[in-house]
Subunit: 220 residues, 2 copies
């Protein structure tokens, strides 16, 4: 990152730096609050580089989702699924925990995770052209798997479809809420988002969701 190797694969190395910085800044401040100048300055390249590589600003934003956000979403989903696959018949608690763990403590660094969530949240609450990407790549698969797994692990009670959807949405809501609303959560709990605290958050989300969707459950 400090000194680029001269020979091996220098191609489009600027392009990658631009994407990195763009993602970072778009996530932090939002599309309109970030200027191309700011991005290119951070990426230590020339202003014109953005237009050369991406055509225009809009396209760069789009490309951030395609080449940065989507892969992470898939990785995240992969972690979630693998975590489920490692058990024969995961309990509901295990399912919910697998999800919140993937999102709150998964393979990414804390910073990466926050960026990922912020980009997602922005699109979900205020759709632009990337909304469909987010739904197709993150929301739909996660909610689909969640629904399926939760039904499987609790075949006895027949849950009406809308109730199921609202349950799953609520679990999803809590998971992303505790990721994106950090300033508030930290202020209210007095805790920083370190390993210990995120572990407690996962436990909380699991417990809360589990009993939330199962009015009178014994097992945990």
């Amino acid at each position: 990152m400090t000194e680029p190797e001269s020979s091996p694969e220098k191609i489009d190395q600027t392009r990658e730096r631009i994407l990195d910085e763009a993602e970072k800044l778009f996530a932090e401040k939002g599309y309109h609050a970030v200027s191309v100048r700011e991005i290119t300055t951070e990426a230590a390249c020339n202003l014109a580089a953005v237009n050369y590589h991406f055509g225009n600003k809009q396209n760069l934003y789009h490309e951030v989702f395609r080449s940065r956000w989507i892969p992470r979403a898939r990785t995240l989903f992969g972690v979630f699924r693998e975590s489920l696959a490692s058990r024969k018949a995961p309990t509901q608690a295990e399912v919910v925990q697998a999800l919140s763990e993937a999102f709150l403590r998964g393979p990414m660094t804390g910073e990466e995770r926050q960026r990922h969530s912020q980009l997602m949240i922005r699109e979900l609450s205020q759709p632009t052209e990337a909304f469909d990407i987010v739904v197709e790549e993150a929301v739909a698969p996660v909610m689909g798997t969640l629904t399926e797994q939760l039904k499987r692990s609790q075949p006895k009670r027949r849950v009406p479809q809308e109730e199921m959807t609202l349950n799953v949405l609520s679990i999803f809501a809590m998971t992303i809420y505790f990721n994106f609303s950090r300033p508030l959560v930290s202020r209210m709990t007095g805790c920083e988002y370190d390993d210990a605290f995120t572990a407690r958050l996962v436990r909380h989300i699991t417990r809360f969701s589990l009993h939330g969707m199962n009015p009178n459950r014994k097992e945990r």
Copy 2:
């Protein structure tokens, strides 16, 4: 709204229109995505009026919170408290329902409510100078009352402080989530936010939260 009365209190009537349109646009698009020109066009007044009345754009944004958002937050909180005061010893279910009802079906129109939530959410996830206002006027009082009331209605079980805080944060999270993430919720449930649907949402939030924080509760 169409034809202003000529005599009685015409003073600062432009100012009010600017505030109205500014709130609407800031809520919809966010601070940076809105230009002063756009606001003044919508408010059907001159560009210079913003600077005359508010000095600059930043200040207008701030004033939107002071003169529009805060009163609504207080009204909302008032509805919540009155709803509680009308019962001698509200159950936990009644407490949660009072909250989500105030936020999702309260005294405001659907549009107003959405605006209110969006302004709040923006500040909570990405604090600017209005963050403190939001915390002091909305989050702190609501969470304080919620904590107090929930403790009172369930004196038997001693809940650790952090668990209590996380519970309350989760209830708050769901309440605002279902308000601000409408595009997604509508897409997933296939429902518009009409009276019938918001009523079902209130019931869902109440049920989910209630059991979420009470692992093995009978009464509802």
